[in-house]
Amino acid sequence: MPVVLENLGKRFGDGALVLDDVNATIEQGEFVALLGASGCGKSTLLNIMAGLEAPTSGALEVPSDGAAFMFQDAALFPWLTARENIELALKLRGAGKAERRVKAGELLDLVHLGGAGDKRPHELSGGMRQRVALARSLAQDRQLLLMDEPFAALDAITRDLLHDELERIWKETGRTIVFVTHNVREAVRLGQRVLLLSSRPGRVVREWHVSEEHRTDAGLAGQLTGEITARLREEIRRHAK
């Protein structure tokens, strides 16, 4: 089932418009990168898709069982081990005890953390924490996975690896992913489609398709990155006065 956003608008109280007339369709199994400068309302858009906030105007169509969500900060519960964090997600979904154990083990293995299940969040590195958070959001077993700058706080080496990791997991699980970022390279690296959001108010101003060649040909990827960056800067320059 596709995700459809129609003329979506959002305003907080009497403040300025945050989102204005956002239109987009995201097909099932698609990986879409939502790109924009700071303050363009991309997180707000994600929160609306997750059902954490209600839109002021317009309509949206999301899967009825809701969406899984991954935050910039891993937001693991510090009183639980990595495995228990994943098991809690399964429990809140209504899974039985035996199923929880098996499934949590599988998910830990999927994110290559089979040996770290009994560690607590503070004993894990930032990248490991984010992988546990990814496993936890996969534990929700929703078709739609929303990610709000999940790798922004990581070091570059870890981030590069997690890009590969996320691409692999996306291919293995067939999820629909909406990935919010302010990093053009990251958007090009991960998305099949890159949607550029304007700032104040946020609106989809342009989209680019990223082909499989862009994943391996750095020249091609660099060219597209440059093109998107130029358009993004044009958008930022509009606010200079």
Partner: protein
């Protein structure tokens, strides 16, 4: 195939440099390096991640017994006892007004032999604990409710904070009028003493929860009750625990006040009663014994119950590093 991977990066600079980038802004020409797939398959990725994980995780450090934790407090007590004995030996005050540590130790022996000491400690401890547990059982749901429901919090919050300032001794006369000289009087005073601290501790614990946890709970599909029990309560545990600690301290103090004032009737013989008896008999050694016992019970509960629980809680959450505990 690391060489292939490297060549991507090497190539990256050139084609992008001379590409279609509109050069109205010279800054945009620096956007050259792009990200491409950097590992060569699942096995390679697993290995890379394992290497990075072990580089980024601390090696486990083994805890050793820190003798200064035991020796320093013991030394402090010894110093105080010696100073006390020295002062008494100087003979500045009459011995029956200011007895020395040895006189008090002798009185301890007497009270022990008569069985009064054990009776007083046991009676007070039992009452203190029962009163405290009742307070916890009532304060916990009330605190959660106040912390979670904004209108209730606005309505009753100031009152609860105010009650914390009110000395619980103030409830003793009222309690005697309502319940007479019975155990109910003692429990009532303990209850009124402990409950505001526990509620306030829980509320401030809930206030300090990162807002992210609630969002995660909602996204994971927790119901209101599940959110309260599975996420809010455990997340608020450090604040709740310090509320409990303070609540216990207030229980114990209120209990002593109640026992000193309300004597006789069906109220048993507790440490407060012992203190009061010492005053009636003008026997300073009994008074000192009672004071030291009250203090000792307080310290023991902290050392044996709250201390270990708190330490374990903070260590599990990684909050202990760098503290002077």
């Amino acid at each position: 195939m690391p060489s292939k991977f490297l060549s991507h990066y090497a190539q990256a600079a050139e084609p992008a440099e001379s590409s279609l980038i509109p050069s109205s802004d010279p800054g945009s020409r620096h956007i050259t390096a792009a990200l491409t797939r950097s590992s060569t398959g699942s096995a390679d990725l697993r290995e890379l991640e394992a290497g990075l994980d072990s580089l980024q995780s601390d090696a486990a450090r083994r805890a050793r017994i820190d003798w200064s934790r035991i020796l320093l407090p013991v030394a402090a007590i010894v110093v105080l006892l010696v100073a006390w004995q020295l002062y008494v030996s100087l003979g500045i005050k009459r011995r029956d007004l200011v007895p020395g540590p040895l006189d008090v130790l002798g009185q301890f022996g007497n009270l022990w032999a008569e069985g009064k000491l054990q009776e007083a400690v046991w009676t007070s401890l039992q009452r203190g604990l029962i009163g405290f547990l009742i307070s916890v059982a009532v304060a916990t749901p009330v605190g959660l409710l106040l912390a979670q429901v904004a209108p209730l919090r606005r309505a009753f919050g100031p009152l609860i904070s105010g009650l914390q300032v009110l000395p619980s001794v103030a409830w003793v006369p009222a309690a005697i009028i309502w319940f007479g000289l019975t155990d109910a009087t003692v429990y009532f005073v303990v209850f009124m003493g402990a409950i505001p601290s526990i509620i306030n501790g829980l509320i401030s614990g809930v206030d300090q929860i990162p807002p992210q946890y609630r969002s995660v709970g909602k996204v994971l599909g927790a119901s209101r009750l599940q959110l309260a029990l599975r996420i809010i309560l455990p997340a608020a545990l450090p604040g709740y625990l310090s509320g409990l600690k303070q609540g216990w301290a207030f229980s114990w103090r209120s209990l002593m006040a109640a026992e000193i004032i309300a004597v006789g009737g069906s109220i048993g013989f507790g440490l407060g009663s012992m203190l009061n008896q010492g005053r009636d008999l003008s026997d300073m050694t009994i008074v000192m014994s009672a004071i030291l016992l009250i203090l000792a019970v307080g310290i023991l509960i902290e050392l044996l119950v709250f201390g270990p629980i708190e330490k374990r809680l903070l260590r599990r959450r990684g909050l202990l590093a760098g503290s002077t505990r």
